[in-house]
Symmetry: C2
Subunit: 128 residues, 2 copies
């Protein structure tokens, strides 16, 4: 399959597939005309990658997940540790965003939002 077809099948942009090859996540073959040739195994791998990325795993984490996935002798504890680490990261980010939301929504609620210049949002950002 050519890059366009695999892009369709996996939902990943062709640009991304080229990038993944460049950084060594995938190794598609080449046709006589220089076009990349993707197998069904590549498609499978790419769907795996797409899912992992959608769960917020970094590329390097994806690389490790892929290695574990392909290592039939892995210990599931290794996978679990990686996933739990990432889960902690996500939870930390959620906490930070919730802090921001709390502060910001207080400021927004306090602001009249009319034609007058007085604004608790601005004074909240500048004061104290």
């Amino acid at each position: 399959m050519n890059i366009g077809q695999i892009a369709n099948e996996t939902g990943l942009p062709a640009k991304t597939l080229r990038y993944y090859e460049e950084i060594g996540l995938i190794q598609p073959g080449r046709d006589a005309n220089g076009y990349r040739v993707f197998t069904q195994a590549d498609a499978h791998k790419l769907i795996f990658l797409g899912r992992a990325r959608a769960l917020g795993f970094s590329i390097e984490e994806c690389r490790k997940l892929l290695a574990l996935y392909e290592d039939k002798d892995r210990a599931s504890s290794d996978v679990k540790a990686l996933a739990q680490g990432h889960l902690s990261d996500i939870e930390e980010k959620i906490r930070q965003l919730e802090d921001m939301r709390a502060t910001l929504s207080n400021l927004v609620d306090a602001c009249a939002g009319d034609h007058r210049p007085d604004c608790p949002i601005l004074t909240g950002l500048s004061q104290n």
Copy 2:
């Protein structure tokens, strides 16, 4: 004040202050020796910026906030609109992260995490 002192006072790294000058957020003066000279007004502005950045406003949003802050004829509705837009972004990000957390924590919970290779996390990422 020199850059080091202002960095101390505002909690922002000197590198960041130079960057903020480069992109036109601040315009410190210069001493005869070429050193940047910061006033108390600069410090005030930088603290404002630091707070806005800590609330997740982008640099461009900060630029607008600063302009509104310095425009004594602004309408508070303009500030509120900006802040509400950002608040929506934050809430959207929280939603996405919570989705990730839900999926990921299901997978993690399903994984035994022992020496055996069977791993619901990997199968969850690869299947269907």
